[in-house]
């Protein structure tokens, strides 16, 4: 594991240095990335101009959801986002080059084109999250405080598992980057809002089918002390880590099976 992280850091560092050869572009792209992320926040802000609460959640509470989902997703994107380019490598046959090296191709893909600008997205989200923490009407007990980092981490792992699962699909369905994006980026978008704004069937789907509800919704119900609109047992609020582990247990074999199905291209 330590070796894995060291290799990751080494690859990411090399790519960052390559990106740093164009410092102006690096800074501008970083700023642009941050600006685009801020637009999401502006959209939520606009809604609150018309109404003081969304589905029973105040501004600070929605920002809390936004912050936790955002941090989880952006961190997973920084770590694993490169993996979604797999289809390009499959189509061009350039995956061959990654496969003859003694390092997991997933690791090589994830770090490919790693650039410090990826951190640009973190800035606005972190600010929002800090503001939300300061304003949510929560009586901060030790378990509640502990839940916050746990949920961010759980969310990160869940999103990362989805990157791998949906990317593995690209081995079989070559033009399926859209599917990857709809689950990952789409999931990040959905979890920015209280899930209670959606119909009950969607919430059920997000709990039992594509378990994005465990990224931040269920644990937030505990932290913010809200009733569950589906009336699910209280244990669901703490089930995030279990869901994350199960997803990882699925993602590993899915990736391996995908690799076995790789067909390469004609020379």
């Amino acid at each position: 594991m330590a070796e894995l992280l060291r290799t990751y850091a080494r690859l990411a560092w090399t790519w960052s240095r390559a990106a740093a050869q164009y410092p102006v572009s690096l800074v501008l792209l970083g700023v642009a990335t941050a600006a685009v992320t801020s637009l999401d926040i502006a959209a939520i802000g606009l809604m609150f101009l018309r109404t003081p609460r969304i589905a029973g959640f105040s501004v600070a509470e929605v920002m809390f959801l936004y912050g936790t989902s955002g941090l989880s997703f952006i961190l997973s994107d920084i770590l694993m986002g490169g993996a979604e380019r797999l289809d390009e490598h499959v189509r061009k046959g350039t995956l061959d080059a990654l496969l003859v090296r003694p390092v997991s191709p997933l690791l090589q893909l994830a770090t490919e084109d790693f650039s410090p600008r990826r951190f640009g997205k973190l800035v606005p989200t972190t600010l929002v999250f800090a503001l939300a923490l300061a304003h949510v009407p929560v009586r901060w007990t030790a378990p509640r405080i502990a839940m916050v980092p746990v949920m961010v981490l759980t969310g990160l792992v869940i999103f990362a598992a989805f990157w791998v699962l949906t990317t593995a699909l690209q081995f079989v369905l070559v033009e399926s980057r859209g599917a990857t994006k709809s689950v990952t980026y789409g999931g990040a978008f959905l979890t920015q809002y209280p899930l209670s704004v959606f119909s009950r069937d969607i919430v059920r789907g997000l709990t039992f089918m594509v378990p994005l509800a465990f990224v931040n919704w269920e644990p937030s119900l505990y932290v913010l002390d809200k009733p569950d609109p589906l009336g699910l047992p209280g244990a669901f609020r703490f089930a995030g880590p279990v869901v994350a582990v199960v997803l990882c247990a699925l993602a590993g074999p899915a990736w391996k099976s995908g690799l076995r199905h790789y067909r390469s291209t004609g020379s």
Binding site: R10, T14, D96, L99, R101, Y262, S264
Partner: protein
């Protein structure tokens, strides 16, 4: 070093035949191949496009999983132990680089050191050696995308050899190279094989590579081995015609001799295909009896013709 026994690779191809209907055809890219390459050998692997060369190479290196049969490379099963095998294996694809496109060559090579966990001192010594042998000095700090094809190939060779693998697999390493670059690469490979004892498996379309480097050739066609053996023997076994070049005293109609075909005429000069069954001396004597001859020359078939004939007819039983 390499062992293949009855290896097959099939691909399923789905073709759309109007609407939602699809036909499913099974394509046998490799159809039962067996061979063994011993340590220290330099083997040429030949075959026309689509014959299954690259597919074989990809199975050897663990990129593709064989549909049937047994493969051992350096004592390992490539598909299952791909990562482990990668440490004992150097691979160069002539058509695409394994280097990082946007990084300077030096950084790419430094990264390779970390990926393969090469000792820093070993790395430095090996890099210095390869830099000298392949003349990399001028472009070590240039991003890979700006390198010429010849430079890139030398960079790729270096990257594949930094970890000093006992086996080097090359897939068309001289494709598109100019004469000078080709000579550099060939000379380097020869030294590597002779001095370091590196086992080399080389696929190529450039028969010059084979003639210069390989004592043993394997020819694959339609997914099967058509020939495996000595290069000189292949030339002898495959009954390729010799060529008799005749300069007549004056231009005339094509020479008519039983069983001999005139391939080309150009003024007084005529090219005759001389089957192996004919005795050259007898043919020349017969010619001299009927025509006034200025000069004759007899040419052995070159490897292109031998291989072309192999592709056409397969090996005579």
């Amino acid at each position: 070093m390499i062992e293949l026994a009855d290896v097959e690779k099939t691909f399923v191809i789905r073709k759309r035949t109007g609407g939602l209907r699809r036909t499913r055809t099974v394509f046998r890219a490799v159809d039962g191949i067996s061979f063994t390459v011993r340590a220290g050998e330099f083997v040429g692997y030949l075959g026309p496009n689509g014959a299954g060369k690259s597919t074989t190479i990809k199975m050897l290196t663990g990129i593709l999983t064989a549909s049937a049969g047994r493969i051992r490379v350096a004592g390992m099963d490539p598909a299952r132990q791909r990562t482990q095998l990668a440490r004992r294996l150097g691979v160069v694809f002539g058509q695409r680089t394994t280097l990082w496109w946007d990084l300077p060559l030096r950084d790419s090579l430094a990264l390779i050191r970390h990926l393969y966990r090469i000792d820093p001192d070993d790395h430095r010594a090996r890099l210095a050696e390869l830099t000298e042998l392949l003349d990399l000095g001028d472009f070590l700090d240039v991003p890979v995308r700006q390198l010429s094809l010849g430079q890139r190939m030398r960079g790729d060779l270096t990257a594949a050899l930094l970890h000093d693998p006992p086996l080097l697999v090359l897939d068309e390493p001289t494709i598109g190279l100019d004469v000078v670059s080709k000579a550099t690469v060939r000379g380097f490979l020869e030294r590597l094989n002779v001095e370091r004892g590196t086992t080399i498996l080389l696929t190529t379309h450039d028969l010059g590579d084979i003639e210069r480097l390989c004592r043993r050739v394997m020819v694959i066609d339609h997914g099967r081995l058509a020939y495996d053996g000595d290069l000189a023997e292949m030339r002898a076994t495959v009954q390729a015609d010799r060529q008799l070049i005749v300069d007549l005293a004056r231009p005339g109609p094509p020479i008519a001799l039983p069983g001999i075909e005139v391939v080309r005429t150009e003024g007084p000069r005529q090219w005759l295909a001389l089957p192996r069954t004919h005795n050259a001396a007898a043919v020349i004597a017969a010619l001299a009896g009927r025509h006034e001859i200025e000069d004759v020359a007899l040419r052995e078939p070159d490897i292109e013709e031998v291989v072309a004939r192999l592709y056409r007819t397969g090996l005579p039983a």
